[in-house]
């Protein structure tokens, strides 16, 4: 499964995805509504988030590690705030709001399977074409990623010179071949879907 959640307690995992989503959005909205000088008060949410993570049975280290992936963008944009009047307060406000928001979102994603979230979107009347595209993406991305990895290994095994230009050319060609194979696979999948009665 895409982005498979860390081991969690079943009760938390089975709780309504829509409810968890709404709660997370509420937290993010509350944070975004805080004025700049009151933004550090957003840190009061941290104990609640940590408590929720403990109840859910999340491994804190792994949860924090995944949250840190957003750090480069968070820091680089926050630093831009330093170049204006009262920049220190703005920098701190953006840092606090985004850090707490990222932790809340990661908590949601680690306690809710992606398929549940996508089903929630379907129930929210997201266009069917978009929903089916996402479901097929979920189904086939790992196959194509494996194929891309195999092509990369085959290319590495056959390429004696490792110059950057040759690498770019070889990987670009590999992606082109992957796209051609993608279209062929799509034709086969469509035929299989039609054979099973899909429109």
């Amino acid at each position: 499964m895409l982005g498979s959640p860390l081991p969690v307690r079943r009760a938390v995992a089975r709780a309504s995805a829509a409810g968890k989503c709404a709660l997370t959005l509420g937290v993010i909205l509350a944070l975004s509504a805080l004025p700049v000088r009151h933004a550090p008060f957003g840190l009061v949410l941290l104990p609640a988030l940590f408590a929720a993570a403990r109840v859910a049975g999340l491994k804190l280290r792994a949860w924090l590690k995944r949250s840190l992936l957003a750090l480069p963008f968070v820091l680089s944009v926050s630093l831009l705030g330093l170049f204006q009047p009262d920049g220190g307060a703005l920098f701190l406000a953006v840092l606090v709001k985004s850090a707490v928001s990222v932790l809340a979102v990661q908590l949601l994603l680690q306690t809710t399977p992606a398929s549940d979230l996508l089903r929630t979107l379907r129930r929210a009347h997201v266009p069917e074409i978009l929903c089916s595209t996402m479901l097929l993406l979920q189904r086939y991305w790992s196959l194509l990623a494996d194929e891309a990895a195999r092509m990369r290994r085959a290319r590495a095994g056959r390429t004696l010179r490792a110059g950057r230009l040759e690498l770019w050319r070889a990987q670009g060609n590999a992606l082109g071949l992957l796209f051609v194979r993608t279209v062929s696979r799509a034709e086969r999948v469509q035929a299989a879907m039609r054979a099973r009665g899909a429109p």
Binding site: C21, L25, I28, L31, S32, R66, L69, A70, F73, V77, S78, L80, G81, F83, V94, S98, A99, V100, S101, V102, A104, V105, L108, L109, A114, L118, P127, I129, L130, T133, M134, L136, L137, R139, Y140, W141, L143, L144, E147, A148, L167, W168, R169, Q171, G172, N173, A174, L175, G176, L178, F179, V180, T182, V183, A186, E187, V189, Q190, A198, P199
Partner: protein, 321 residues
């Protein structure tokens, strides 16, 4: 360029989400009406391709690497509505499955990397390709389109950050555009290599039988005009133009009003007054109004011709728009 949560204000996030939602809904409707909706497998597997292609890293320098984003490329390969649906699906799954990009800022990310990127990339590609392009021109067009799409998305992102009060526009815009102008070179190169490879292996995938070229150019031009109004209008200078400045220096004053009631006087919107949002909306309304008037004028003035039926051409599995 995935904006995490905590950067955008609720108003900017909601506004971006609304525009993104409308754009994606329109694209979904368009995909259904063009018949591509019956080829859901192509959309889904193409989305999986974009997802997988983004995992392939190209070495840059000093231990860094870049990867394809694919908005302009997808638009060139699948057409605009399908590309918007595919990129929106990729971004939503990246957000919900990997936390790449925020939940509240999902609308803004879809606006930047699915709508703005695809529209600009498609428009530039169509305009640069022309009719029956040679392989070299085809590759060059998609490369340039990839670069333009990356820079346009960065401009849109910078505006959202500035409107949210995170940083001043005159600081965040050059920073974002400068960095992404370089990143766009990588996107251009990878797109060019990929399209060149597809042209060698299965060139029919890149030909579109029965495409109405004039409609494609018109749509591209309108799309570019609307995106320009959306992205560039906020940068309009408030300083007086040359005539008014000279008049002020000479002590002459313009009359209070011209006697004609203008609904968008001084480029303001009734009820919204002045400000960036009013300027953008007035720009978009103006572009649509002018396009509509020109279209009407063309319908009245240009005589219609009956064209003979076009000969049958080999069709590609990717449906024409």
């Amino acid at each position: 360029m995935h904006i995490p949560d905590g950067f955008l204000s609720a108003r900017v996030a909601a506004g971006s989400g609304l525009i993104a939602g409308l754009g994606v809904a329109f694209a979904c409707a368009r995909v259904r009406t063009t018949g591509l909706g019956s080829r859901r497998a192509l959309l889904g597997v193409s989305a999986a391709f974009v997802f997988a292609a983004q995992l392939v890293n190209f070495p840059v320098a000093a231990g860094t690497s870049g990867h394809l984003v694919g908005a302009a490329l997808t638009a060139a390969l699948l057409g605009l509505p399908a590309a918007i649906v595919v990129m929106a699906a990729v971004l939503i799954v990246q957000c919900l499955a990997f936390g790449d990009g925020g939940l509240l800022s999902l609308g803004a990310n879809v606006l930047n990397m699915a709508l703005v990127s695809c529209v600009v990339g498609y428009a530039v590609d169509r305009l640069a390709c022309g009719k029956n392009p040679s392989p070299t021109r085809r590759v060059a067009a998609v490369a340039f389109a990839g670069w333009c799409a990356t820079v346009a998305a960065a401009m849109s992102c910078a505006e959202q950050l500035a409107l949210s009060g995170v940083a001043r526009l005159r600081i965040v815009l050059p920073a974002m555009v400068g960095v992404h102008a370089l990143i766009g070179l990588g996107e251009a190169m990878i797109s060019a290599l990929l399209v060149g490879s597809v042209l060698r292996l299965r060139p029919e995938l890149l030909t579109r039988s029965g495409v109405n070229h004039s409609r494609s150019v018109l749509g591209s031009g309108l799309g570019l005009a609307l995106v320009a109004a959306l992205l560039l209008a906020p940068f309009s200078s408030a300083a007086p133009d040359g005539l008014l400045r000279v008049a002020a220096q000479l002590g002459a004053h313009a009359p209070a009003s011209s006697g004609i009631h203008a609904p968008f006087a001084e480029y303001t919107l009734p009820g919204l007054g002045t400000g960036v949002l009013a300027t953008v909306l007035v720009g978009v309304c103006g572009a649509l109004l002018i396009f509509g008037l020109c279209w009407l004028f063309a319908l009245l003035v240009v005589p219609r011709r009956r064209t003979p039926a076009a000969p049958e051409r080999a069709s590609s599995p990717i449906a024409a728009e």
